[in-house]
Symmetry: C2
Subunit: 112 residues, 2 copies
DNA sequence: TGAACATATGAACAAGTGTTCATATGAGGT
DNA sequence: ACCTCATATGAACACTTGTTCATATGTTCA
């Protein structure tokens, strides 16, 4: 691997770009994947209001309990949301301080 | 669709959650999809340094010209990057002011 | 115009993803 | 213990995605 031979290419100014660690790139992509699905975004958006139980979310989004539960599991597994049991219900809520920041920055972007 | 019957559910405090528009959710998910792939993240990371031509990027990431070109096309189609021709080379560079903000917020997240 | 180079693109394929359906698990109340 | 309600989970399926391979397009320069 060599640096670019093209003189006009700014790249020639750098010896070697310090690589984004392969593992880090993979981790980052997994993090972004959580937001890369409309259903999950709608779930997160709903949770901005506060915690909510599974069937409530399903009703809100007019989707099946199963579909929602599967997505909640994925979000929880990736520590985007957390759960708490109260009697027969499981309540889910946000567990990531960066969500709103990221969500809003992205929202700004598509509003242009 | 009714509001939740569970009394302890915070949801009961709201009449009806104002839905994230279906189209908006879809647009947002497409935006995040751009960042949800390790190859595209590595490309963007490399472009933080400045514009670069296709083969240079391929060399940097040790990937085929074709694979990189396909990804660049996707990023460009979604207005994350832009291109400029100089003689025989096409130079790509970032075309989104929110990238670094989002990238860094996400990076903060995985570093915990 | 023709050869050489840089990039783009289409088809094909493997791998990954989200939903549905059926069913399992687990807590509460009788 | 049993029944019911709330949620979780596994298998199957259609759909999407990223890479490779082969080739097309387009630019430069002789």
């Amino acid at each position: 691997m060599e640096t670019c031979k093209v003189e006009s290419c700014k790249h020639t100014q750098f010896k070697r770009v310090d690589e984004l660690d392969v593992v880090e790139a993979e981790e980052l992509s997994i993090f972004f994947k959580m937001y890369a699905d409309a259903t999950r975004l709608k779930i997160l958006h709903v949770l901005f209001k506060g915690e909510m139980c599974v069937q409530c979310i399903a009703d809100e989004l007019d989707m099946s309990q199963s579909a929602i539960s599967h997505q909640l599991a994925i979000l929880k597994r990736n520590r985007i949301i957390k759960s708490r049991r109260d009697k027969k219900n499981m309540f889910y809520s946000l567990d990531d301080k960066h969500i709103e920041l990221i969500f809003n920055a992205a929202y700004e972007h598509i509003k242009e």
